[in-house]
């Protein structure tokens, strides 16, 4: 369980994180979603006691991070897979971390086995691919068998196989009853990975809900109807007071589902050529919610085109 209460971070004139409050439950994968520059990494660093908040607190199981004894046993985190000395072997990297929290040396071999790096444990970490570095970072996070795990953009730059591995891995960690908090700027990825969502933009909380609720609320559900007899259908629908939009040979109806429209058409004796539910894309929903809070707009960005959101890097 992670709790942020009024978390605020100011860099000079810039308010990177603005009075942010949310909670991350255990036993679930909670996504931390926001465009680049929204303050996700800063928030995670404050949770881990690396950056001092200008205001507010972050608590892990009711304690501040710096009050934890041997914190690796309580919280594991992967903030940046490149935070490894390139000339140090993967095993040595894990060994010093293990020793610092009095973890048994055999735990190093265990976590190397879990992430599948046993065969390259003696190799220097500088020669690792991004995917291997991410695995090493996850191994480090798992060292103390912690109940709380934080991952900052863990799938960034990974190939599909790596992404799938990480996604399954997080689900497994949550099923074991752990608290898993994962940040991402990609809603499509989070929709598959996270059960809960904390969405921020420009350092402010936009919403906290289950992923399902977020998607339902955020996406507008419409039905597309094609018919050679559009005029009578339109007037019949008009009487019910639903909103209708013309789209060439079709009508886009919102506020009524397919079944109701189909039954109405049958009663009116109208022939239908198409009756299909339309779901707004997740990206659109995300843009709609965070559109005003994207920090750096690109010139070509249009509503619905998440150009600013898919740009990699932090």
């Amino acid at each position: 369980m992670i709790e942020a209460v009024g978390l605020t971070k100011r860099y000079g004139k810039t308010l990177a994180v603005d009075n942010l409050s949310f909670s991350v439950p255990s036993g679930r994968v909670t996504g931390f979603l926001g465009p680049n520059g929204a303050g996700k990494s800063t928030t995670m660093r404050m949770i881990l006691g690396l950056d001092t908040p200008t205001g507010g607190t972050a608590l892990i199981d009711g304690k501040r991070y710096r009050d934890l004894q041997q914190p690796l046993r309580t919280v594991g985190a992967l903030l940046d897979a490149k935070w490894v000395h390139p000339n140090r072997s993967a095993r040595a990297h894990l060994q010093w971390l293990a020793r610092s929290n009095r973890l048994p040396a055999k735990r190093v071999d265990e976590v190397l086995e879990i992430v599948g790096l046993t065969s390259v444990a003696g190799k220097r970490a500088g020669g690792f691919s991004l995917g291997m570095s991410q695995r090493l970072g996850i191994a480090a996070a798992l060292l103390g068998d912690p109940q709380v795990l934080l991952f900052d953009e863990p799938v960034n730059g990974l190939d599909p196989e790596g992404i799938l591995w990480i996604r399954k891995f997080m689900h497994r960690l949550a099923e074991e009853g752990r608290t898993v908090f994962v940040s991402s700027h990609l809603l499509s990825e989070m929709a598959l990975t996270a059960q809960e969502l904390v969405v921020i933009g420009r350092g402010k909380l936009i919403s906290q809900s289950s992923t399902e609720d977020f998607v339902t609320q955020a996406t507008e559900n419409t039905v597309r109807v094609r018919s050679p007899q559009l005029a009578p259908l339109r007037s019949a629908l008009g009487k019910l007071g639903v909103s209708i939009r013309d789209e060439g040979e079709a009508l886009v109806v919102s506020g009524m589902d397919c079944a109701d429209i189909g039954e109405l058409a049958a009663r009116e004796g109208v022939v239908l050529h198409e009756l299909s539910p339309q779901r707004g894309s997740l990206e659109e929903a995300f843009m709609q919610l965070t559109g005003d809070s994207v920090e750096y707009h690109t010139e070509i960005a249009e509503p619905g085109v998440p150009a600013t959101l898919t740009t990699a890097g932090k």
């Binding site: 001092t52 000395h85 010093w96 020793r99």
Partner: protein, 247 residues
């Protein structure tokens, strides 16, 4: 103890401390051998004079100690360190202890190495370590090198960038301190209070003119205490800064 072990693993699991350590010993010992072989009677065969080239080793130790922390900032492992040990004063004190121990060993190797090789070449001279005055310059290198390491570590923590910290330390120790002497009138008065000048006075090698001056304000041990105070103040300033700022 577990923190000391963690810091020890960190220091010894990369190549640069090994390379620096080797160089810090090989350079002064090698130069002493050359000097002893070539100088003939130009250098008095005294115990203190066997230590003339040890400054070379000290310069390399400056680099070693600064790197011990700047490489952590460079590669982000300082954040992993503070994540594992949120009490930064404890974490950095553990690092300082390991750096001091390692540089003390290097200092001892340099001190005895230079003395040994000089003695081997000047077999006829009386270079036996008979009294405290003889032991101080040789065994004392362990103390001087350890304090030098702590000073450089403190500067490394403050500066964080490898290039900046190393440039600052080397330019200061190799150039600035000797250039100060050239300032008319006040140069000598300033120089006698500079940290590496103080360290040299503890060793007491007569390689430079200043050692022959009789108007020095402190005794050799007084100068060591003075050098220790400066090193520890810089280190404490570094640790206090690191504890306060964002990692």
């Amino acid at each position: 103890m577990s923190l000391l072990a963690a810091e020890r693993i960190k220091l010894f699991s990369t190549r640069s401390p090994w390379a620096c350590g080797l160089l810090a010993v090989a350079l002064p010992v090698g130069f002493t051998a050359l000097l002893a072989a070539q100088a003939g009677d130009q250098i008095d065969a005294t115990v203190a004079n066997t230590q003339i080239t040890t400054n070379l080793g000290r310069a390399v130790v400056l680099v070693l100690a600064a790197l011990a922390v700047t490489s952590e900032y460079r590669f982000g492992t300082i954040r992993s360190t503070f994540q594992a040990v949120p009490n930064r004063v404890t974490a950095l004190t553990a690092k300082a202890t390991v750096v001091a121990a390692v540089t003390a060993v290097i200092g001892a190797l340099v001190g005895f190495g230079c003395w040994g090789v000089f003695r081997a070449i000047h077999a006829g001279a009386d270079l036996a370590l008979t009294g405290a005055e003889d032991w101080r310059p040789v065994a004392g290198q362990a103390l001087v090198f350890a304090l030098t390491g702590l000073l450089a570590l403190g500067v490394g923590i403050l500066v964080r960038q490898t290039a900046g910290a190393v440039a600052l330390l080397l330019v200061y120790s190799l150039l600035v301190e000797s250039l100060v002497q050239l300032i008319p009138k006040i140069g000598d008065d300033i120089q006698r209070w500079l940290p590496f000048f103080a360290a040299d006075r503890f060793i007491g090698a007569t390689g430079d003119d200043a050692a022959n001056r009789s108007d020095l304000p402190l005794s050799p041990w007084g100068y060591l205490a003075y050098f220790a105070a400066i090193s520890l103040v810089v280190l404490a300033a570094g640790i206090a800064t690191a504890a306060r700022r964002d990692a």
